[in-house]
């Protein structure tokens, strides 16, 4: 941990550590290009005539994939321990479950006219 008194600058990284950072940088740029491509494809779907439901599924599906890729590479979740991955998967399932539950409860109401 840093010395509070003398503010000496820290030593440069060793070769291995620097190489690791450069690997990260390569991954970041690769991720950027992949995500950009996916964004273009998703935007393109808007102009292709298709049934509304198919359009919604395509667009949201691509978005979901994009967010997983961004989380794993930009946010470096790929380097996290297995426990973290398990927690995330569980959370995603629980979130879908909660949303579904609320939707079910809510759909009972939309049959009642508010106005």
């Amino acid at each position: 941990m840093a010395d509070n008194h003398s503010h000496t600058p820290e030593a440069d990284l060793s070769h291995e550590e620097a190489a690791e950072v450069h690997t990260h940088v390569r991954h970041y740029w690769k991720t950027f290009w992949v995500l950009s491509l996916m964004t273009v494809v998703m935007f393109g779907c808007y102009f292709i005539p298709m049934p509304a439901t198919a359009n919604e599924i395509a667009v949201l599906g691509i978005t979901a994939l994009k967010s997983i890729i961004a989380a794993f590479f930009f946010m470096h979740l790929i380097g996290a321990r297995k426990f973290v991955h398990q927690v995330l998967v569980f959370t995603a399932i629980f979130a879908v479950f909660l949303l579904g539950l609320s939707l079910l409860a809510f759909m009972d109401h939309t049959h009642v006219a508010f106005f």
């Binding site: 503010h7 820290e10 950072v21 991720t31 950027f32 950009s36 964004t39 809510f106």
Partner: protein
């Protein structure tokens, strides 16, 4: 007194304090935007058939912003890498690009909001419709709507409340020849004038069910759109303030405690990636669906 694991990660958890802290904060942010997205779903599902608008957004501006924000996300990772590699010039350059890109995003957003605030929409009364109106006509207002008893609208679009299910109009051919005839509706007088190539309509206030500029109160769609994109923009501004601090006064720490500084940049970067993630969902949901 030193708080342990501020810089070096704790062995059994594998993280340093700030990283765990920001992930927990992001979890709460997911719940925040999740609540808003859930509200979007409920509002849209609960809206009467066909009243949810479509095609009101500038999709090209949204697409442009998506790429800009994605680019700023990659530049914030470059900023962190530069700190790790003890490259002060690179750190300053990459962080400056990040901030510049986010300013471009916010600039485009301001332009979009401004366009919207000057756009006007009129809902025409229709007592036979379950929602009280049958058509909404949008465009730009040309007169003083407070004083006059009518609205002069340079119309650019119209959308019937049953647009999803309505059969094709019988006048389809006539409309092809003269697009202004779209607006041949009860209560609407198509004047001879044109404004910027668009037909000018005269609508008496007594035929109007509701009307307003494209502000949050216009309809549920704009309400949720402005709320969510506004909250997102506020988060961007917050991130921008933090970046600015690191670029100016905070950059001293690069030289004194670089490892800890790298951690701070990483933590802020994680927040920034989250802001980008929210936009991943906002763009298609608000603009494309």
């Amino acid at each position: 007194m030193e708080i342990p694991y501020t810089v070096k990660p704790r062995p059994d958890t594998g993280v340093y304090n700030g990283k765990l802290g920001i992930w927990l904060f992001l979890a709460s942010e997911v719940m925040l935007f999740g609540g808003l997205f859930a509200s979007y779903i409920f509002l849209r599902l609960g809206a009467p058939e066909g009243t949810w608008p479509n095609g009101l957004m500038n999709v090209w501006a949204g697409f442009f912003n998506s790429i800009i924000l994605l680019l700023s996300s990659v530049f914030v990772t470059m900023t962190w890498a530069a700190v790790k590699l003890n490259d002060f010039k690179g750190f300053k350059r990459n962080l400056a690009i990040t901030m510049l890109l986010s300013l471009v995003f916010l600039g485009v957003k301001s332009y979009e909001y401004n366009q919207k605030f000057h756009h006007y929409g009129v809902f025409l009364k229709d007592a036979s419709s379950p929602v009280g109106w049958s058509v909404q006509i949008t465009g730009h207002v040309l007169n003083n709507i407070e004083k006059d008893d009518h609205i002069l609208l340079a119309a650019d679009a119209y959308q019937p409340s049953d647009w999803r299910s309505a059969p094709k109009s019988e006048n389809a051919d006539k409309i092809k020849e003269n697009p202004a005839l779209r607006f041949a509706l009860p209560g609407v007088e198509i004047t001879e004038e044109k404004h910027d190539g668009e037909p000018v309509l005269k609508i008496d206030k007594k035929d109007v069910f509701r009307s307003s500029y494209f502000v949050p109160k216009y309809n549920s769609f704009f309400a949720i759109y402005y709320t969510m994109s506004g909250l997102h923009a506020l988060h961007m501004i917050g991130g921008l303030v933090v970046f600015l601090y690191f670029w100016t006064f905070g950059s001293k720490m690069f030289h004194t405690h670089r490892a800890q500084f790298a951690n701070r940049i990483e933590v802020t970067g994680l927040f920034w990636h989250f802001v980008d993630l929210i936009w991943f969902f906002l763009f298609p949901v608000m603009y494309l669906m």
